[in-house]
């Protein structure tokens, strides 16, 4: 049994006097899909922000593949293999789908500005190699028809897909998805669920996602962590979590 890919322990995050996360811990095994659920304001996005390096927790550690990344800047974590998508789409709106994905590959490019600008030689070879990787992602997500379209002209569901593509372009080992299906219709949700499963199965990428749609969570996830008021109240398989009285209370009783 290999060690966990991601290990969060005793994590605490405060904004002034408000405790966003309190003494939180869980582990994500490589190759699994992990869902984080909980009511509004439970601290889900804060947790994702701590893992990706946007927020700095006051206490606790985050280990990625055995390495302590708690104090590491976001860009360094990206190089280690952590990528994410955002609740509100974060793409270069004025650039094409292709350009957005190529930017995602930038972290892997080795030739310098000069070689890239001169284009011929190593710069060209690298560009061709990177383009090929991006084309594979375009094929994977079936967005060939919009390859050269400017992102802001695309439908919302399609933009979400492009954002997933941009994260995939980083070749992540750990993919953090913040509400990948928010605002989608039933058909788009079904497509997105299939892409997430495919990313996990075909590429072996470990996935941590925040999602509200319980049907999706129960169908896709290997494990579910439930947060309420910044505390972990349950952690287990979808079945176990559903049976948990604390969870039922948080979702139904409190209302």
């Amino acid at each position: 049994m290999p060690g966990p890919l991601l290990e969060v322990s005793q994590l605490s995050l405060r904004f002034g006097g408000v405790a966003a996360l309190g003494d939180l811990g869980f582990a994500v095994a490589p190759g699994t899909i992990h869902a984080i659920i909980g009511p509004n304001g439970a601290g889900k996005t804060s947790l994702l922000n701590c893992i990706s390096g946007v927020y700095h927790p006051q206490r606790g550690t985050i280990r990625f593949d055995g390495q302590d990344v708690t104090r590491m800047p976001p860009a360094a974590r990206t190089r280690l293999g952590i990528a994410r998508t955002f609740q509100n789409i974060a793409l270069f709106r004025g650039m094409s789908v292709l350009e957005n994905l190529m930017v995602g590959r930038h972290v892997h490019q080795r030739t310098g500005t000069l070689a890239g600008g001169l284009w011929y030689g190593p710069g060209q070879r690298e560009e061709i190699r990177e383009r090929e990787r991006v084309e594979e992602i375009i094929d994977f997500l079936e967005i060939q028809a919009v390859r050269k379209q400017v992102v802001h002209t695309l439908a919302y569901g399609l933009q979400k897909r492009v954002e997933l593509g941009r994260a995939l372009a980083l070749d992540p080992r750990l993919l953090l998805l913040d509400e990948p299906m928010a605002g989608m219709n039933a058909e788009e949700k079904e497509d997105m669920a299939r892409y997430i499963l495919d990313v996990n199965q075909e590429r072996g990428t470990t996935i941590v996602m925040i999602e509200h749609d319980m049907g999706v969570v129960m169908d896709l996830s290997d494990r579910v962590v439930v947060l309420n008021f910044g505390q972990k109240i349950a952690d287990g398989t979808p079945d176990e979590v559903q049976q948990d009285p604390l969870v039922q209370n948080a979702y139904l009783g409190a209302a």
């Binding site: 090929e132 375009i138 094929d139 060939q144 028809a145 299939r194 199965q201 075909e202």
Partner: protein, 606 residues
């Protein structure tokens, strides 16, 4: 050279390294030479035989247009078996019906989407020995002993002696069964039309003799390969002539890929031509007044000035610069669209035919193109009008019969002629098709009239996607209209009307007013008794998945009238609106519920 596999052998020898097929993959056009095409067919064929494919057997194929589709077809035929294409958007039950009815021993499916349909029915398909997929994505956890990859079959075939393949091809005869084409028809369950190599190859050559194709031509294959029309072009003609067949990256990129290829030959249903035309019209609507003025002047001016400054650049933008043979078929195309293409120098021709005659019986001739006719019989085809006004045809391309359905075969023939079920007449040697015979209406004054004629007039309006006229044995005519969401949506945008869904858009009074104007225009051209008195805008588009259209998008009148019975009843009553509570069925068998209130619009001044 009387079979497809023999032609493939000839072409591999004659053309060798030249491109037989091209497929866009990962953004790049990738070629398969004639020699490589033959290699892959040989391997796949030998692989299937080693797994037990027999002469006279059947191989069912389902998927988008890709080289593997055609390779599987030729491989089956080389082994003395026949291919059976299945429309890729068929539902679970349709797929199961065809595979079982045609006695397929093997099924070749493109990907997970298609495989799920087959595996969902596999308990009811005991005759199937193997299910073969070409795209392994998402199949990691599939466990069925009958499941095999395309590459694994090819690998199996590589180990067999090539001699076996050549001998098997030599055994083939022109009169052998080449394929079974299932036609859903506008009524009842699908029937399998059996076509021989002779049927298909005489058709390809007859068509070629009046509408020339060359070995150096480029062709883009994007219509369903299960359809006889696409088989005629991408397989029969491509093999007989030796031109290059190009497969788009995805169905949605077809128009873009056409532009990249710049085909010499293009065969497309009206919706594609209408799509190209409306692309131009929409751009012109959005441009500056000066450019619009110039466009309109040059369009009506003609001459070399217009040719150099407008027509040629326009054709280039659409990817039609090299187009020599342009045909449309399957449904009527509006005269305005026809005129547009002829003006810019695209010699668009109408063709007419049916699956049972290997696709085509009539085509326009170069110098005699009338927009409302379907042209003249192709060489070798004898056409006449039967006593009841039915179009009858006879040619060497008339099919062998329906598979396992002698009764239907007999009903399809009369005195050696093939029935079409269409009413028509000749006008100076050119055929005019009126409508399906059983749909032709008798009006109060005794004259016959065609609902399809009126429907087509309505559909020529860019805002109308689909229209169904009802009126047989009724006091007056009414119409069920489906709006075109794209263009009606653009209208709503300009008029600052907000809407959410198709159902919502179709319920807007302003949209009703718009369509009323269009209906009124059509009514002006009709005799008083044949005018549309009332119409509704349907809350959803007609869909083949709901059995309202055939897979080639023809309206299945009986189903539509049955399904919308309450709406039609309301149209003949004095209700002002109808409450609808319906379920919509999706391709994967799931359903959704729709609740709406439809307004009934009367055409009389109230």
């Amino acid at each position: 050279m009387d079979t497809f596999p023999k032609l493939l052998l000839r072409n591999a020898e004659r053309f060798g390294g030249r491109a037989a097929m091209r497929e866009k993959d990962l953004g790049i056009w990738r070629e398969t030479s004639w020699a490589a095409y033959l290699d892959r067919v040989r391997q796949f064929s030998l692989g299937l035989v080693s797994l037990g494919l027999e002469r006279g057997g059947k191989v069912a194929i389902i998927g988008d247009n890709r080289p593997e589709w055609i390779i599987a077809e030729l491989a089956a035929q080389a082994a003395g078996a026949a291919s059976v294409g299945i429309y890729q958007d068929s539902t679970l039950t349709e797929v199961g019906y065809v595979i079982d009815h045609c006695d397929a021993q093997f099924v070749v499916a493109e990907d997970q989407e298609q495989l799920d349909k087959i595996l969902g029915m596999i308990e009811q398909l005991p005759k199937v020995k193997g299910v073969i997929y070409s795209d392994p994505r998402g199949l990691r956890r599939y466990r069925d002993p009958r499941l095999m990859s395309f590459a694994a079959i090819e690998e199996l075939g590589r180990k067999q002696p090539a001699e076996t393949f050549n001998r098997s091809v030599e055994q083939g005869r022109g009169e052998d069964l080449a394929m079974i084409c299932y036609t859903s028809g506008t009524t009842g369950s699908p029937k399998g039309a059996m076509l021989s190599f002779d049927n298909l190859l005489t058709m390809a050559m007859s068509l070629h003799s009046v509408d020339e194709r060359r070995a150096t031509d480029e062709f883009v294959s994007f219509l369903p390969l299960a359809w006889i029309g696409e088989q005629m072009m991408s397989v029969a003609t491509a093999l007989a002539i030796g031109f290059t067949v190009n497969f788009p990256e995805e169905p949605e990129t077809a128009l873009h890929d056409i532009r990249e290829i710049g085909p010499h030959v293009l065969f497309a249903p009206p919706r594609i031509w209408e799509g190209l035309n409306s692309q131009v019209q929409v751009k012109i609507m959005d441009t500056t007044p000066l450019k619009r003025f110039l466009f309109e002047r040059l369009m009506s001016l003609g001459g070399f000035l217009a040719d150099w400054f407008l027509y040629r650049p326009l054709k280039d933008r659409l990817g039609l610069s090299r187009l020599r043979s342009a045909t449309t078929g399957g449904a009527a195309l509006g005269p305005d669209v026809f005129k547009f293409f002829h003006t810019i120098g695209v010699p668009l021709k109408q063709i007419y035919g049916q699956t049972e005659i290997s696709g085509i019986s009539c085509i326009h001739r170069n110098d005699r193109i009338r927009f409302h006719t379907v042209g003249e019989p192709i060489p070798g085809t004898e056409l006449k009008i039967g006593e009841n006004g039915e179009i009858l045809s006879r040619s060497p391309s008339v099919f062998i019969g329906y598979y396992k359905n002698a009764e239907a075969t007999q009903a399809a023939m009369t005195e050696g002629f093939l029935r079409s079920g269409d009413a028509g007449y000749f006008e100076e040697g050119q055929l005019v098709v009126i409508d399906r015979i059983k749909d032709v209406l008798k009006l109060a004054d005794g004259t016959t009239f065609s609902p399809q004629y009126i429907e087509n007039r309505l559909k020529f309006s860019p805002y109308v996607k689909e229209a169904v006229i009802v009126g047989k044995d009724r006091p007056y005519l009414v119409a069920l209209v489906c709006i075109d969401q794209g263009i009606a949506g653009k209208f709503a945008e300009k008029a600052k009307i907000s809407y959410t869904t198709y159902t919502d858009l179709a319920s807007k009074p302003e949209v009703y007013d718009l369509i009323q104007g269009e209906v009124d225009k059509v009514n002006q051209t009709l005799p008083a008794a044949a005018r549309i008195r009332k119409f509704v805008l349907l809350y959803k588009e007609l869909d083949a998945d709901d059995e309202e259209l055939t897979r080639t998008r023809k309206v299945r009148r009986v189903f539509v009238e049955e399904r919308y019975k309450p709406i039609i009843a309301a149209l003949y009553g004095d209700q002002r609106s109808i409450d609808v509570d319906a379920t919509i069925k999706f391709q994967d068998g799931k359903t959704a519920r729709v609740k709406a209130s439809l307004a009934v619009r009367s055409m009389e001044a109230a």
